[in-house]
């Protein structure tokens, strides 16, 4: 299949929806995907900047340049932006919207207007979150976890930030409903369940968590708002309430949310590795089943955030056991990915480089998670920098690097232009070194006993903190190179054809950028699996 005549920019230049308004009121899944993408990337950059400031403050013990209150507000903002505005919507809302309907041979998602509403809700939520910084009692200082009773007492503007989270949550629920319906109802002729690319499968599993778990978040933050406004005493022991109940409610959402963040990343990696190894995904069904198993079992392990909270020992026993159960499907995925490489024909292009980094960094995150899952070991490292390092390995090394892999893999499809592979590789080098310097050091300082959320620390932790801060600079250099390279490619990159990587799934069979109606007049008919490179004519 050939590309367009020169000047035709596919959905990017759709003549029926010109200009800025044509974009922000578009119901085209690809345009909505790009709206999400640019908003998410912007928030990510803001979050990174805040993270760098936090590391800078930790360069020396005592106040370097931030007061305690400023530091507390900054880490709260860093957490809220990164979790609610970057990682949770990240891959599903941006690349899910851009790619998933094409992967199943659909013209759009099942509810295009609802899809647009989701983006608007997301932006309104983001705007409210920003407003909370400059109004009321000042920037929220509760941490992204909003633990009571501190969050019900603080004079800072926590209520508005909570409301923002509430709104963004609805955006997530609506996207989930949309994706589940789309995947059930919109698959084209021949696109059986087991011919779906693994990325689509991972979105399917994720969407169910979004639908089932996010309402609990809405309830939880509503209760905190009610508590702040009316003082009904749900979480206040002097009024017969229980602060630990809040933690249960919060983690019933926020632990599954970890899988909302990382499952789509696993999907991206499951799609990329076969293409660059020219081999079908090893253990396709095992990967599918493990995605669903993670989605299910991951909903039952929230209590492992609470071993020291004062909940009963029986609860600790149960949650610790279930936590180790949920480690098994993740391990199965990793083994299948590695085996896919065996006897392949491997091109270490940037998408694969980032995807394999995901496998490694996610493994480090997952394995350090085993320490946290074990009831006794967790007691020592809980609420220390070990945990901070651990979840950055999972969230940033996992979901973040998968997002980067997805950018390098699919942006050429979306914009029809490709970046410099050399620069992408150099950027990767900086990021990989900086990343490990930063977060591995954090884990060590945590094992040595430095608690988290400390703007000030004991002098004995100085050297390691400095090393971590230097790591953050190296990482930042890599990020700047990576984004500069990608942004430049979007505008001036070398034009590419429909299938620059030799993929066998449907998105590679239409032009780059895709036309507004994806497949034109006739829906595609699927005759082979998503990684059948022989049938697809790649081999």
């Amino acid at each position: 299949m050939s590309n367009y005549p020169a000047g035709d920019r596919g959905f990017l230049g759709d003549p029926k929806a010109p200009g800025f308004l044509g974009w922000i009121f578009s119901t085209d899944h690809k345009r909505i995907g790009l709206l999400y993408f640019w908003a998410i990337v912007t928030f990510f950059c803001v979050g990174v900047l805040l993270g760098l400031l936090l590391r800078l403050e930790l360069f020396s013990p005592g106040v370097d340049f931030m007061s305690a209150q400023t530091y507390n507000a900054t880490f709260t903002l860093h957490g809220v932006i990164m979790i609610f505005l970057f990682i949770i919507p990240g891959i599903p809302a941006a690349f899910g919207n851009l790619i998933m309907p094409i992967q199943i041979g659909a013209r759009d998602v099942a509810f295009p207007r609802l899809n647009l509403l989701s983006w608007w809700l997301y932006m309104i939520g983001a705007l409210l979150a920003i407003t909370s910084l400059f109004t009321g009692g000042g920037p929220p200082d509760t941490g992204w976890t909003f633990y009571v009773p501190f969050s019900t007492q603080t004079a800072s503007n926590a209520s508005l930030a909570l409301f923002a989270v509430f709104i963004i949550g609805f955006s997530s629920i609506l996207t989930g409903i949309n994706f589940v319906t789309t995947i059930h109802r919109m698959r084209t002729t021949g696109m059986g369940w087991f011919r779906m690319p693994l990325f689509t499968w991972s979105l399917y599993a994720t969407a169910w968590i979004q639908i089932l778990a996010t309402p609990v978040l809405a309830i939880t933050v509503s209760l905190v708002m009610v508590e702040r406004l009316l003082g009904i005493g749900l979480f206040n022991p002097t009024q017969g309430g229980d602060p630990v109940m809040y933690q249960h409610l919060f983690w019933i959402y926020s632990h599954p949310a970890v899988y909302i963040m990382v499952l789509p990343g696993m999907g991206v990696v499951s799609d990329i590795i076969p293409v660059f190894a020219r081999k079908p995904a090893f253990g396709y069904k095992a990967i599918v089943v493990s995605s669903l198993a993670i989605a299910f079992a991951g909903s039952l392990v929230w209590g492992h955030h609470m071993y020291t909270s004062g909940m009963s020992d029986n609860a600790v026993l149960l949650f610790s056991f279930l936590t180790f159960v949920v480690a098994i499907p993740s391990a199965i995925k990793v083994f299948n990915w590695v085996t896919t490489l065996y006897k392949g024909s491997i091109a270490l292009d940037p998408p694969l480089l980032y995807a394999l980094s995901f496998v490694l960094l996610f493994s480090i995150g997952g394995l350090s998670g085993l320490v946290l899952g074990a009831a006794s070991a967790d007691v020592h490292v809980h609420d220390t920098h070990f945990v901070v390092g651990h979840f950055h390995y999972v969230m940033f090394g996992g979901a973040g690097f998968a997002f980067f892999a997805a950018m390098h893999y699919w942006l050429p499809k979306i914009y029809g232009r490709i970046y410099s592979k050399k620069l992408a590789t150099i950027a990767w080098g900086f990021m990989f070194v900086g990343f490990n310097l930063l977060y591995l050091t954090m884990q060590i300082v945590g094992v040595k006993g430095m608690p988290r959320r400390y703007y000030n620390y004991l002098p004995e932790f100085t050297d390691l903190n400095r090393l971590a801060t230097v790591g953050s600079w190296v990482l930042a250099i890599g990020l700047v190179i990576m984004f500069a390279n990608l942004f430049h490619s979007v505008l001036r990159g070398t034009p590419v054809g429909p299938n620059p990587w030799g993929g066998a799934s449907l998105e590679w069979q239409i032009p780059s950028p895709p036309p507004t109606d994806n497949f034109g007049e006739n829906d595609p008919v699927v005759t082979h699996g998503p990684y059948d490179f022989k049938e697809a004519g790649i081999l």
Binding site: P237, K279, A286, G344, A374
Partner: protein, 397 residues
């Protein structure tokens, strides 16, 4: 294995080391294979893949079963260790800890209380934890114990110090602006010294400044004129201050009544330029201490001059240092002033006030010959206390 025999450190470290070992092995395996495959099967070497095989039931079974066995072992180690942390050994002594924004207070059965947690070496200690305001967490990395301190609920930890020394004690659950400074120490001292320390349990008449420190005031209000989270307390009496009472803004002169209001109901009048974040002290919770602190704030002086002997007893100095010339854990205090003392690696020096102060605040720096370097650092003493202590030592003939 009977978990009762393990210390908290062993209970945690056993699981930690086992999991870490397995994890590092798995990580090396995964990374090694990944890197090897990428090099071995590069497209340059193999433009066409050698295989299109995409499943193998036996492999799937093997790499499901082996990780399952491994993680179940990890689970079991972790759980067993956790039981050790939860079972208080027989013969444990109890200390009651009260956490508030942003200080710790430890109270003993004898009625004695302290901002540091004094424990005897070789005896298990159960610390009962209660919070006066928000969530805190008791975290002693050296003993691998951590427990949230939850308002409205009583939690506890236990641990046992095997060697005397000073160990960090952190608040590990985020609790607001003073969270990172809610640090104190666990002072593990020999049993004899501990007994001595606890017996002198009559709540002594204490200096207002010590009280301000004890109630955590000084975490946010300086005594040296520098602005911190709250206004400085230096020369606060009579100061003309702008405050906001509700929406109304007014100027007032700081007097005793104002200070009393500011402690009991801090949110009613907020000094301009400062955030309304001071936690209130409930009426009656301060007792007579309130008047002592007010005396100090109004006059800038202590009611009574400090008694060095009292401090030496309270701080436990006399547990290790005799006043009758006998050598205990440390050198005797008898006729210490002006004595020629042999310091390790430095030779003889004459004991003067400066040396005494150094040996209290930095005891590890100059060790008297033939004595072990085990004295805890006493850097929490106020200047006034330190002076009183040195004066007392001067007087022991």
């Amino acid at each position: 294995m009977n978990p009762q025999q393990l210390t908290t450190v062993q209970a945690v470290d056993n699981a930690f080391i086992f999991i870490l070992g397995v994890s590092i092995f798995m990580l090396l395996l995964i990374t090694g294979l990944m890197v090897y495959f990428v090099i071995r099967y590069s497209r340059k070497r193999y433009p066409v893949p050698l295989s299109q095989k995409d499943q193998n039931l036996w492999l799937e079974i093997v790499w499901t079963v082996i990780p399952t066995l491994l993680v179940m072992a990890m689970f079991w180690f972790g759980w067993e260790g956790f039981l050790t942390l939860q079972r208080i050994p027989d013969g444990a002594i109890q200390v009651n800890a009260t956490a508030r924004m942003w200080s710790w207070k430890f109270t003993y059965d004898s009625g004695k209380s302290s901002g540091k947690l004094y424990v005897p070496v070789g005896t298990p200690v159960k610390v009962k934890l209660e919070s006066l305001d928000v969530l805190h967490a008791f975290y002693a990395p050296a003993f691998r114990v951590k427990r949230d301190v939850v308002p409205g609920m009583t939690t506890w930890v236990w641990f046992e110090a095997e060697e005397s020394g000073s160990y960090n004690l952190f608040c590990a659950e985020y609790c607001g602006v003073g969270h990172a400074d809610m640090i104190t120490t666990i002072e593990a001292v020999p049993q004899a010294e501990f007994d001595q320390w606890v017996i002198f349990s009559q709540p002594p008449v204490v200096d207002g400044e010590i009280l301000l420190d004890r109630y955590g005031c000084l975490s946010c209000h300086s005594l040296d004129g520098s602005a911190s989270v709250g206004p400085t307390l230096q020369q606060i009496a009579g100061r003309i201050t702008k405050v906001k009472r509700g929406a109304e803004s007014l100027e007032l002169r700081v007097d005793r009544d104002y200070l009393r209001r500011a402690i009991l109901d801090p949110e009613a009048e907020i000094v301009e330029g400062f955030a309304p974040i001071m936690p209130p002290f409930a009426k009656g919770s301060l007792g007579q201490d309130l008047d002592r602190m007010l005396d100090f704030l109004m006059t800038g002086e202590s009611i009574a001059p400090l008694d060095g002997e009292q401090i030496a007893k309270e701080q436990g100095c006399l547990g290790c240092h005799s006043i009758d010339g006998s050598a205990l854990v440390g050198p005797s205090f008898k006729a210490i002033f002006g004595r020629i003392t042999e310091i390790e690696g430095r030779g003889g020096i004459t004991v003067d006030a400066a040396y005494l102060r150094r040996s209290i605040t930095h005891p590890e720096a100059e060790i008297v010959d033939d004595y072990p370097s085990i004295m805890p650092v006493y850097d929490q003493l106020t200047e006034a206390e330190l002076n009183a202590l040195v004066d007392y030592l001067k007087g022991i003939k």
